[in-house]
């Protein structure tokens, strides 16, 4: 079954064609990678999928619902969550608060009960905290719940962002360069984590430059160049594709 379907998605910024009629489908439970040189339109594509930018043309269908014009918060509620290329944590909040606030769309918050601090509210808060700890354990951050997010080292910040993403209980996770700037050790840990997420039943779309990661964990790869999808297929097919090699290494003249 296809969880996400992108139909002829086009986004123009004035005269610049960031994405041009891109179409692909993602099977539930698969890991799909989107690769391409810098400026190929990968992040713009993610922004269109999560409602941060509205596409010029085309449509996005999630679980057969047309979400093209949905607001970001409603898209999250349906089950798509993302991370950002340049980390966007809530810097002055503690690690656990970052994860707690991410459960916002799955929990009820009422002004009155939070003022009264009644039993239902207290047990709700406790459950949120406990669940937050579980998500932190999943990404191996359970040792620093009270540290401010801005004081974490880079690799841990990346993992916290993933924990925050999982906390929204998504079916589809969009990870924007999760291993960028990591050393080989951290990269292999991140690969493990992504596989673990897949085992939990999440569908994942990945933007990634590290070919070892892409070839190692993807079920499917789509290649963008100058906003156009030039190839799609399994890792083996992509490795042999002449257009992909040209896009990355330049054509022979």
């Amino acid at each position: 079954m296809f969880l996400l379907e992108v139909r002829d998605l086009t986004k123009h910024f004035g005269g610049i064609r960031a994405i041009e009629e891109v179409r692909f489908r993602v099977r539930e439970g698969h890991i799909m990678s989107i690769i391409g040189p810098n400026g190929a339109g990968k992040t713009t594509l993610f922004n269109c999928l999560t409602g941060l930018t509205r596409p010029t043309k085309g449509g996005v269908f999630f679980n057969d619902t047309d979400i093209t014009v949905f607001k970001p918060n409603n898209i999250v509620k349906l089950g798509i969550a993302r991370t950002f290329q340049n980390i966007r944590l809530f810097k002055e909040m503690s690690v656990i608060e970052n994860v707690m606030v991410s459960q916002h769309c799955r929990t009820k918050t009422s002004l009155l009960s939070s003022i009264l601090g009644n039993k239902a509210f207290m047990s709700g808060e406790k459950a949120i905290r406990e669940r937050a700890m579980e998500y932190l354990e999943l990404v191996n951050l359970e040792d620093f719940p009270e540290t401010l997010a801005c004081n974490l080292p880079y690799g841990r910040q990346k993992r916290l962002e993933i924990a925050r993403c999982i906390a929204t209980e998504p079916r589809l996770m969009l990870l924007d360069e999760p291993t960028a700037g990591m050393n080989p050790q951290e990269t292999s840990e991140m690969m493990e984590l992504i596989k673990k997420l897949q085992a939990l039943g999440k569908t994942i779309i990945l933007i990634e430059h590290d070919m070892k990661v892409v070839m190692g964990i993807s079920d499917n790869i789509a290649v963008l160049d100058h906003g156009v999808k030039i190839a799609e297929g399994t890792p083996d097919e992509i490795k042999k594709n002449q257009m992909v090699i040209d896009a990355y290494l330049g054509k022979e003249h």
Partner: protein, 382 residues
Amino acid sequence: MKKKFNLNPLIIAVWLALLFLPFKGVKAALILFTVISTSIYLLNFLLVYTKPLLAKLKEACAVLMNNLQTKKKQTESALLISRYALLVFILFVPFFAKDYFIDVLILAGIYIILAQGLNVVVGFAGLLNLGFVAFYAIGAYSYALLNTKMGLGFWSSLPLSVVIVVFSGFLLAVPALRLKGDYLAIVTLGFGEIVRLLANNWDTVTKGPNGIGGIEPPYFLGTSLGRLSYFYYFILVFVAITVFVVRRVYKSGIGRAWVAIREDEIASSSIGINTTAYKLYAFAFGAFWAGTAGALFAAKMQFVSPESFTFMESVLILSMVILGGLGSIPGVILGAIILVILPEMLRGIQLYRMLALGSGLVLLMIFRPQGLLGGKGVSFRG
């Protein structure tokens, strides 16, 4: 090796002298210049020689701090005792203090409520509001009009005034929340001025600059709260309710959502927070407290006029929040108390008190940008 000559003290001295030039003439400016420049150079000179001494002092402090850590339990109990002492002091102030002091404290109480309201908007949700006094004014005028024109008592007009204020909060927020940062600040500033000008010029209703007098003080169980000591306890109850409610909401999911929006709006919409709705809540919730404070102010003064709701008032409230520490509830209480009581204490140096207050704020912002009690290093980022 020749040391480079330090020009900074000279620049500071010239700047201050120029500031004073229009007020005190050339002679005074020159004197100021010489005094300041020599004293700063002297200070620098002293600092160089006292550096080793200071280092030793620092070490001693560190040792002392370590000792304190081991004696943590004792300090905790000491803290508890001082807290109870403070509570007793607050509760029994009217029995020993002069009327003047009680009056100042009542004013401080009203400002605490106001500043907590603004703290929700600026400190929690990160929306710079430069026209917060508008809600204060609307609250005060609502009670004044409901009381003098329609003869409603305090307890029946308080909820009505608050409803009016929250509604006007929504009214401002709906168009304003499309804007961000500086632009939002300008729009709220305009709103504040509009409300003041409305009060100043709508003679038939607000009696213009003459203001509305003869407002009744509130009654409680048949006794008038017009007496200062009664009104003190009355305000105290409201302050306690404000602090309690704001704290509870801050600690709940709603407060977390506000802080998330302050930290990163795009990220918070990407984890499913309806940012528009929550910014609206913040505006309305802040306006709620401003309205309450306004009604209390009208009841206290028994008189309202546009003069009490100028732009400077907005600035004062914002200074309380920033001085105490954005987003810190105890900090904002402290900020409000300091900025109400300090100008009163500085009355002795009448002419220069605003200068002293202003330079104090500047120094604080340089050395402690997160405010007095701003715990988590939150500083203002526009």
